[in-house]
């Protein structure tokens, strides 16, 4: 298969136009770190964006950064970190989970739209993408959004690009909002709660005025032992429930005490400070207990999003019915489930249970033959699915971009 390494937006236009003319579908890649996610694609050539890797501008005082889509995520994260800033949505580093050497590019981060624990407080990737330049499946370079944080001019196309897995347009340059990094953080740790009690504790914490920025639960202590960051919690035979507080030091200390008191009915909370706390949340964010090189590395992994207060019951049911392992984030609103391998990754059962809870499930990790036979992304009601397809066609009528990635289609 041809790999076409583009140098600028004009190259991208040229490649897409030629692809339209010859009716060849393109797979869009940056570093290829998330190529294993989605339905196996029916594409004829690779459009490689990794050479579009420049930081166009970084203005810390304006709280924005503009970079080319192929810019390495690791470089951009360390650049904004050097100015005590961060992406508040805490992008997931999928390298460990997917077993790739690289954490990928900014374009991939946006296309995948995977936000970490702080999503419950700061919003998702969608909430921080302010503007983009992209080439549609018409072969035209267009602009969406702007370079300021407050903007309602025209349709908010950036929302659509986020999480579209490269099926609408090829982003070439993006402007993201950055936020100050909190001065300090700590994590309250409750031990020994079952899934339902942990869900209630997290619900209480998130319904408190103490500005909780992370609420996770690991129901199987063995999962902690195998993952760095979590391993240090030393909780033999006990589940751990984690609640993060961030901000100015005095404020964090005050809220930790108050939240500990409010959660007294769930037990006495230990407090994990700064560096150890950060390591814990990196481990939750990146789903380290399910790492590809770990004990559960061969298992398919589902990413389930549901109403947070129903997460505990849903996760408990799934793990009981499948013998699988689960980890809760977002106060129960996000469940990572690693199920014993099956040809269909237990898709029918998972979807039934998740539908009943009002959520949706994505098969984020599975071998190619499994992904070929299973809907990787959650099937939608007919009307919604048809509307989504019309939206897709409005960007890419010839189905040039990442053909077949989000929905199974007959290969051409």
């Amino acid at each position: 298969m041809d790999t076409l390494k583009v140098r600028d937006a004009a190259d991208v236009e040229q490649v897409v136009r030629a692809a339209i003319a010859s009716e060849q579908a393109l797979e869009i890649i940056g570093h290829g770190s998330k190529r294993q996610v989605g339905q196996p694609m029916a594409t004829n050539a690779l459009l490689d964006l990794s050479a579009l890797n420049a930081v166009t501008s970084y203005e810390p005082n304006e709280l924005i950064i503009t970079v080319q889509a192929g810019a390495p995520m690791a470089d951009v994260l360390s650049l904004i970190d050097s100015r005590n800033q961060q992406f508040a949505f805490e992008p997931v580093n999928t390298a460990a989970l997917l077993g790739t050497p690289d954490i990928g590019t900014i374009g991939g981060m946006i296309g995948a739209g995977l936000a970490g624990p702080r999503r419950i407080k700061a919003g998702g990737v969608r909430d921080h993408l302010l503007g983009a330049h992209a080439v549609s499946g018409f072969g035209d370079s267009f602009k969406a959004g702007g370079k300021v944080v407050k903007n309602v001019t025209g349709y908010d196309l950036c929302k659509l690009l986020t999480g579209s897995w490269g099926t609408l347009a090829v982003m070439t340059e993006v402007t993201l909002k950055v936020m100050p990094r909190p001065e300090s953080e700590c994590t309250l740790l409750l031990r020994g709660l079952d899934d339902l009690a942990a869900n209630r504790a997290m619900t209480a914490a998130l319904g408190s005025p103490f500005d909780v920025s992370g609420a996770a639960h690991v129901p199987n202590p063995a999962l902690c032992a195998s993952a760095d960051g979590l391993a240090s919690l030393e909780s033999p035979q006990q589940t751990v429930t984690l609640l993060r507080l961030e901000g100015f030091a005095a404020s964090v200390a005050h809220r930790a005490a108050a939240l500990g008191q409010a959660l007294a009915p769930f037990g006495t909370a230990d407090v994990v400070d700064d560096a150890a706390s950060a390591a814990v949340w990196a481990s939750i964010r990146d789903v380290k207990p399910f790492a590809a090189n770990g004990a559960l590395g061969a298992r398919p992994v589902w990413r389930i999003v549901c109403p947070p207060a129903s997460g505990g019951a849903l996760g408990q049911q799934l793990s009981r019915e499948t013998g699988g392992e689960v980890i809760y984030d977002w106060g129960g609103g996000l469940i990572w489930a690693a199920l014993p391998p099956q040809p269909d990754a237990r898709a029918t059962l998972v979807r039934q249970r998740v539908d009943a809870a009002g959520g949706h499930a994505t098969l984020l990790r599975a071998p190619e033959d499994v992904r070929r036979n299973v809907d990787v992304f959650h099937p939608q009601q007919a009307g919604l699915a048809a509307l989504g397809e019309r939206v897709r066609l409005s960007f890419d009528p010839k189905h040039i971009l990442n053909r077949g990635r989000i929905r199974r289609v007959a290969s051409t």
């Binding site: 041809d2 583009v6 190259d11 040229q14 490649v15 136009r17 030629a18 339209i20 003319a21 004829n44 050539a45 203005e59 005082n61 709280l63 999503r119 419950i120 919003g123 909430d127 549609s136 499946g137 072969g139 035209d140 370079s141 267009f142 602009k143 969406a144 702007g146 370079k147 300021v148 944080v149 407050k150 309602v152 001019t153 025209g154 349709y155 908010d156 196309l157 929302k159 659509l160 986020t162 999480g163 936020m179 001065e183 319904g207 408190s208 005025p209 999003v305 109403p307 207060a309 996000l334 009002g358 949706h360 959650h378 939608q380 009601q381 009307g383 919604l384 939206v391 066609l393 960007f395």
Partner: protein, 497 residues
């Protein structure tokens, strides 16, 4: 009216009686209004310079009725303009002479309050403030707070992606809605999202929010609610130069502090507000900042100290810190009354709404001063300083011939200057009819075509709210055409591997 609306369809107007009868069959009783006198309140929204009585007003009260009305209009080729509370500042709900005005005012129920999932399910006619009031007894609130929050509806907030004073820290509508039920022009009812933190598939909620009534009619909204901060205190800081105030704003953000709100007023705005509400604003400063910090008391106390130090370093000539809730509210009273206050010193005013990068503030204000001289019209500036959202109020007298045209030209120049300085045409009021013809100043034809293609995915006939947002409407068939350049998958100039 200086803006051209789509030409009326005489064939539709000729059928008016039959259309009214058909709508009465769907929405019985007083839900269909066709007498000119009774339609009067609907002939404009809060952008009152533009008026147009609709062909007929329909006020359904169930999703089923909305669906049937839209399906009827779709089948009959009749234009529809949706309307919430009519508080749009950009003419988003301006009726069409040959169009049905679809009012959602009867959708007033709060359907469900789910504290555990921190979500409230409401009908679109519920006011913004009513949501906060309904959850206040448990310490919750709905964060976006447009200044019209007593009156504006949540459906309208979704349509316009409304902001407010506190959106610097807590986001706009789009950052605080979880899902909706929407009726397409075909009458089809679609549910998007719900109480989950994220929707699945393409982020259609994100595209519907801020779509200004061009994509569908929202009949239910699920919003996210937050716990109220433990406490809030405000600083009132005056500066002898606008530049120093701008520097102060930049330095606060640069120090890693995101205030709950950070507002700026220039001298004319300060004087008008002070004369109106007697908030105790200093009259000898060029710029006044109101900075609110919220959170736990210990945090607020600490940040107040830090902000005060920054203000002094930037050369503030006065810096007062609120010592009571009453005093905090007094600091805000002047800012919140700025628009009516300006209304007292001028027969009419035009409220603009551009956003600029924060750093461009002094340049933008200097430009506005120059334009004010050029046009011979006064201007007062209030400014959501934290996020660069500028609200110049242009003072004019509509009774003086030509003055309104002059005010509009002045306003257009200000918005062009926002774009020139790296900003955008509208930060929170929407494009509507007001900024429609300026869209090409910010977007190329290709950009606008892509937005219109998206419109085609929802409403290929262009029946929903035509004449808003886009200066020229292209046919969907024409927009959907793919132009084929060249013939083979050959990329002569591109490195291959």
């Amino acid at each position: 009216m200086t803006i051209m609306m789509p030409a009326s369809d005489q064939e539709v107007l000729a059928r008016r009686e039959a259309i009214v009868a058909a709508l009465r069959a769907i929405v019985p009783g007083e839900g269909v209004i066709d007498s000119p006198a009774e339609m009067l309140p609907y002939e404009s929204d809060a952008l009152m310079a533009y008026r147009q009585p609709p062909m007929v007003v329909v006020l359904p009260d169930t999703t089923e009725q909305v669906s049937k009305v839209l399906k009827y209009c779709f089948d009959e080729g009749i234009k529809v303009v949706p309307r919430g509370s009519g508080t749009s500042l950009s003419g988003g709900a301006l009726p069409l002479a040959d169009g049905v005005l679809l009012g959602l005012g009867k959708f007033k129920r709060i359907r469900e309050i789910d504290f555990d999932n921190r979500a409230v399910v409401v009908e679109p006619g519920v006011t913004n403030l009513a949501i906060s009031q309904a959850v206040a007894h448990r310490g919750f609130y709905y964060a976006p707070d447009p200044s019209s929050q007593i009156a504006c509806s949540i459906g309208g907030n979704v349509a316009e992606n409304s902001g407010g004073v506190h959106c610097l820290k807590y986001g706009m509508t789009t950052n605080n809605v979880l899902g909706c039920e929407i009726v397409l022009i075909s009458g089809e009812v679609i549910r998007i999202g719900g109480k989950s933190p994220e929707t699945d598939g393409y982020d259609l909620m994100g595209i519907i929010t801020g779509s200004e009534g061009l994509l569908g009619v929202v009949t239910e909204v699920t919003v996210r609610i937050l716990q109220k901060p433990e406490t809030a205190r405000a600083l009132m800081v005056g500066f002898a130069q606008v530049e120093a105030a701008g520097q102060c704003v930049a330095d606060i953000i640069g120090a890693g502090i995101i205030p709950g709100g950070m507002e700026m007023m220039d001298k004319p705005a300060i004087h008008a507000a002070e004369a109106f509400v007697h908030a105790g604003y200093p009259l000898d400063v060029e710029a006044l900042l109101i900075i609110e910090l919220d959170g736990p008391g210990v945090e607020v106390d600490e940040l107040i100290k830090r902000v005060e130090a920054i203000a002094l370093r930037c050369g503030s000539t006065i810096c007062q810190i609120s010592k009571s809730e009453q005093e905090r509210n007094l600091f805000w009273a002047g800012r919140k009354a700025a628009f009516p206050a300006v209304g007292r010193i001028s027969p009419d005013y035009l409220c603009m709404d551009g956003t600029i990068p924060r750093g461009a503030l002094p340049r933008a204000l200097a430009r506005i001063r120059d334009l004010s001289e050029k046009y011979g019209l006064g201007v007062a500036n209030v400014f959501h300083a934290g996020d660069g959202n500028l609200h110049p109020l242009i003072l004019y007298d509509a009774n003086k011939p030509g003055e309104m045209d002059k005010a509009e030209a002045f306003g257009a120049d200000i918005l062009r200057c926002c774009v020139e300085f790296g900003g955008v045409l509208t930060g929170e009021h929407g494009v509507g009819v007001e900024k429609r013809d300026l869209m090409p100043d910010m977007f190329s034809e290709i950009d606008l075509n892509q937005q219109q293609r998206l419109k085609c995915a929802f409403d290929a006939q262009g029946l929903l709210n035509p004449g808003k947002v886009f200066p020229t409407l292209h046919r969907c068939a024409e927009l959907g055409r793919v132009h084929v350049h060249g013939g083979r998958l050959a990329f002569p100039d591109i490195p291959r591997f």
